[in-house]
């Protein structure tokens, strides 16, 4: 905690120092004080936009995680399906989400749906790929025993492979929690008037750089807290399940 505080203070001092030494005008680089002021003056507006973004992040994360985990389990069942889907999955990751966002807005409108869709696209890949990795690494000794004991593929999945892959699933989910807000903000950038991304674009267009920084700050803090909460929830679940 002390190191974090020291780091924040150092960054603030450097920031202010650059402004003083280089004489940067506030519309290029606002001072920390100006950002704090913008944050305070626009607190109601920022909070409203942050609420939208948070809702998109949570829905997208939930939906993307369920889709990713489901896909991993389906692929875990069938080598053939994995052979077909793995290259498609990899290919899907070569398309920048940024390029897809306008099309999604075109298809899904200016509401929450396209933002959630972009978040889902960003979330599901790390979840699916980490979980599938875990599902294909069940210890062979346990699988042999299960086969000799006469277990069905479904029960082997439920009793052995899924529980054995939970740590990898957690890794994927923790990673996805950090990336999820990026998806929502990309969606907001492209279309619509609500959410922190939209607020940033709007403020940027009017040279209100201090407000852009304030929104960015709120987004970062929100992401850190969200990722932290997901990690804590997972750790809790782990203790419960004794893995």
């Amino acid at each position: 905690m002390r190191t974090v505080l020291a780091l924040i203070v150092t960054v603030l001092v450097l920031w202010q120092g650059v402004i003083w030494l280089a004489g940067m005008p506030p519309f290029l680089l606002p001072s920390p004080g100006a950002v704090a002021e913008a944050l305070w003056l626009n607190r109601a507006e920022i909070a409203r936009h942050a609420g939208f973004t948070l809702a998109e992040v949570m829905l997208g994360f939930l939906l993307g995680s369920v889709l990713g985990a489901g896909l991993a389990i389906a692929m875990g069942f069938s080598e053939r399906l994995t052979g077909v889907l793995r290259p498609i999955l990899t290919f899907s990751q070569t398309i920048p989400v940024f390029a897809l966002a306008p099309i999604l807005t075109l298809w899904l409108g200016f509401g929450m749906a396209p933002k959630i869709a972009v978040t889902v696209l960003i979330v599901f890949f790390p979840v699916a790929s980490a979980f599938l990795d875990g599902l294909s690494r069940t210890p062979q000794a346990a699988l042999d025993l299960a086969q000799v004991m006469g277990a069905s593929r479904g029960r082997i999945m439920r009793h052995l492979r899924i529980p054995a892959a939970l740590p990898q699933l957690a890794t994927g989910l923790r990673l996805a929690a950090v990336y999820a807000p990026i998806g929502a903000v990309i969606g907001e950038w492209v279309g619509g008037a609500r959410g922190l991304g939209a607020l940033m674009i709007h403020a940027n267009g009017r040279m209100k750089t201090d407000l852009v920084f304030a929104a960015l700050l709120v987004l970062s803090v929100m992401t850190v807290i969200f990722a932290r909460l997901v990690a804590m929830a997972l750790a809790r679940a782990w203790r419960r399940y004794g893995v």
Binding site: A142, A151, I156, I162, G242
Partner: protein, 262 residues
Amino acid sequence: MTIARVRGQAWVGDTPLFAPVDLTLAEGGWTCLLGPSGVGKSTILRLIAGLETGARFDGEVTRSTPVALMAQDPGLIPWLDVTGNVTIGARLRGDLPASFLPKYPGGRRSGPIKGPERRGAEPPADPNTRAKTLIDAVGLGDRADHLPANLSGGQRQRVALARTLFEDRPLVLLDEPFSALDARTRAQMQDLSARLLAGRTVLLVTHDPAEAARLGDRILLLREEGLTEWPVPLPRPQGAARPYDAPEVLTLQTDLMRGMMA
């Protein structure tokens, strides 16, 4: 009566793993399949178990009864306690209505089984009671709620033995189950297994002539040239291993060693 037979030859690529063999398991007693590492002992055992071998097998495998398997790697489930591991077979077959996370120290417990058994495959006794009896029999009664991580290597093999007994199969396949244990623990596990597996047909795959000399009612020597039946002049006491220090057992051990070196 023959309960299992392996006849044929196994290949890895174009290299024969062993010369053509014909191994017949009659009902009752311990058959030891002795040989050095890499001649395909485990391949034969896995063929009988119906598992992947990694080798190509030309020939036929017949088996008339279900089997239970116990290997060098006890294959315990790290998130299940001793009881959970012993009863895993019932859960994997759907005989025990429990989730994959029912038991761990200080946590939620699965309740007693209510109502009649859902399938006829399990013996009539309540599986949890049976598991408790078996865990007591292998001497882990006071550790039934321990996780595998908190057990020693010997204790883990005791859990594996209890799990094998829980399966209650007429034919038991042992794939070098004691070879990772220290000498004293190994001797104790041999005694315990001989006692608890009495009355079942056992195929023990081992590379240890001392183990074969203690436990084998029949000893089959597997070398690259093929399978040879080794005469066993000694009787084995009912439900026990031969004493490890008896002169005739040591003589048999030495003979087997010579046979392996030949």
